[in-house]
């Protein structure tokens, strides 16, 4: 899995030979063999449409995935592919202009059908979310400690003393040094990385079962990115949470996730365990993503971009949505009613020519 760590300290690559990390493979086998394994969150045929002046924008168009307990699911895709919208739709945070349908099953209930008072009690308490920009996600006129304390008492009754104690505990947990002093500071006195730690503390205040991380490291510089990701993984382990990590950065996903879903133009085009997806992608878009990453091992000085631009989501193509940009396209693809095909257990792709897809080592 280390081959994508393009942030310096890269280990020798091993993927070209098609040899995924063995330990991960084994762990997955074990997990799949367990028949009692129920998903904590099951998203079925999720659609999120926005009414715009140009027409109905299908930001998310039939997305299904399951999140199992204790796992990290990565959702990767370029801007506008619908990954953030998917994430927000899960806790119904879309603006009023949006219409979502399908089913999002959590704890035996369909979150899309819950009355708004009940979804409010799910948010934060059961499913928490951290956002992309730590600069603007904190209330600028409220002390940092108060913001964490507020999250603690939003869903539970706590005495003032307990609240303060747990707040300091949380600040320590996410690695904020000198919490007693920082407690009374305002967000502008914190650096970007520290603010993201505060946001993580707030999100974890009620010990949620699921953490939705929407591009949690995109606004941070690379060294801080690494710290925050490490922290998130450590906390996920310690608190036994499941996590959905949304990113446009395949390298971030590769380092942290057990499984990956690749989104393109509002749909999931490929989904597989991380090691397998990196080693044997079965969708030309995934291949394109992988080839547009900088790699330390290859002598190439240039990256290979994916030509063209994603289709309009107001009037998406009837056949394969990647048709215009696909190197493997043939006429039948244009009219093929796309569906997810199972390549093998746990690996699905939305490409009818998946047998021809290959990660050529340029």
């Amino acid at each position: 899995m280390g081959w994508l760590t393009c942030y310096g300290a890269g280990e020798p690559p091993e993927v070209g030979a098609g040899q995924p990390d063995l330990t991960i493979e084994v762990a997955e086998q074990l997990a799949e063999d367990d028949p009692d394994r129920q998903p904590v969150l099951a998203v079925e045929d999720l659609h999120a449409y926005f009414a715009t002046d140009e027409g109905v924008l299908r930001a998310v168009d039939g997305v299904s995935f399951a999140l199992y307990s204790g796992e990290t699911l990565g959702i990767v895709g370029e801007s506008g592919s619908g990954k953030s919208v998917t994430c927000r739709a899960v806790i119904r945070l879309l603006p009023r202009t949006a219409h979502s349908s399908g089913s999002i099953e959590y704890g035996g209930r369909n979150l899309l059908r819950l009355p708004s008072s009940e979804i409010q009690s799910v948010r934060g308490d059961h499913i928490a979310m951290i956002f992309q920009d730590p600069m603007s996600s904190l209330n600028p006129v409220m002390r940092v400690g108060d913001q964490i304390a507020e999250a603690l008492s939003a869903h539970r009754r706590l005495s003032a003393g307990e609240r303060k104690m747990q707040t300091l505990e949380l600040m320590r947990l996410v690695g904020i040094p000198a919490p007693k002093q920082r407690f009374r500071d305002y967000p502008h006195q914190f650096s970007g990385g520290m603010r993201q730690r505060v946001l993580i503390a707030i999100a974890l205040a009620c010990r949620p079962r699921i953490l939705l991380a929407d591009e949690p490291t995109t606004a941070l510089d690379v060294t801080i990115q690494d710290q925050i990701l490490t922290l998130l993984l450590k906390l996920r382990e310690e608190l036994g949470m499941s996590m959905i990590l949304v990113s446009h950065d395949l390298a971030v996903i590769a380092e942290t996730c057990d499984r990956v879903a690749v989104m393109y133009a509002g749909q999931i085009v490929e989904s597989a365990p991380t090691a397998r997806l990196l080693a044997r992608p079965r969708h030309p878009y995934t291949v394109g993503l992988l080839r547009s990453l900088p790699r330390l091992d290859s002598g190439d000085r240039y990256l290979t971009p994916i030509a063209g631009a994603p289709p309009s989501l107001v009037d998406p193509p009837t056949g394969c949505r990647f048709y215009d940009r696909c190197p493997l396209r043939e006429d039948a693809c244009r009219v093929w009613k796309t569906q997810l095909l199972e390549v093998e257990e746990g690996h699905t792709t939305r490409c009818r020519r998946h047998a021809q897809v290959e990660l050529t080592d340029a």
Partner: protein, 295 residues
Amino acid sequence: MAVEVADSATVLAASIGTGRRSRAGRVNKSLAVGLSLLVLIIAACLGAPLITHYDPTAQNLLIPAAPPFTYGHLLGTDAPYGRDVFSRLLYGGRIDLLIAFGATGVTLISGTLIGLVSGYLGGLADTIIMRIVDVFFAFPFLVLVLAIVAMLGPGLMSLFIAIWAVGWVSYARIIRGETLAARKQEYVLAAEALGYHKGRIMLRHILPNIFSAALIFSMVDAVANILIGASLGYFGLGVPQPTPEWGSMVADGQLYMVSAWWVPALPGLAIVLVGTAFSLTGDGLADVLRRGRAT
């Protein structure tokens, strides 16, 4: 460049010296002058019995229309009753300041809450509230207040009710606009993602971030309300005689404009002074709060 470096060095030194307040060193001049003027006027009006021993309504028909600096009467006496102008100004100021704070305070709060709800909830509630606001805006402020006071009968309470009924609309409109902008901020989205109640999001997360706009406007509004109070006093719809009030003092004194100019001019000057104090405070607040927001 060197100046910049020196400047940031002093700011740094100041912030180290004072703990965390780097801005405390610089005092805003308008705010300082306006506030001290305001405090001085309020203190003088409230402490009137300590400053002057004259009863503002006591007549002294022996010395009507005594000019300022007459022995015993600092600002003279009025015509034709010979009441002490200085003490009438101080006691009258109580009424005018009461109008400024009492009327403005209530409209500031009610208008802010209405605007907050309207902007945050949106939908039907927003449409209805904003149409009501539009109706109020269609009429001149003074005309509406006059109509309500005429309906209820003259007196201080009618004046308050009239201003309370009409004055909130400006605040509602200002705060609604600010709320619409704040609602799209990520910290509001983040608060929603944590499952906070709507009331908590509105009052604890949105309001503290936008309240400065309403507060700054309230300073201008306070001046307007004093003028309204004075105008009604002038029209004879304000506080009944013989209670002193600056507007009615101007109205009563205008007959003696030529023979005793100080009788109408001094209460007029008092109105100007209070107005200036409020305006300076508002200006200063705007500077300080906006700078605070920019960082």
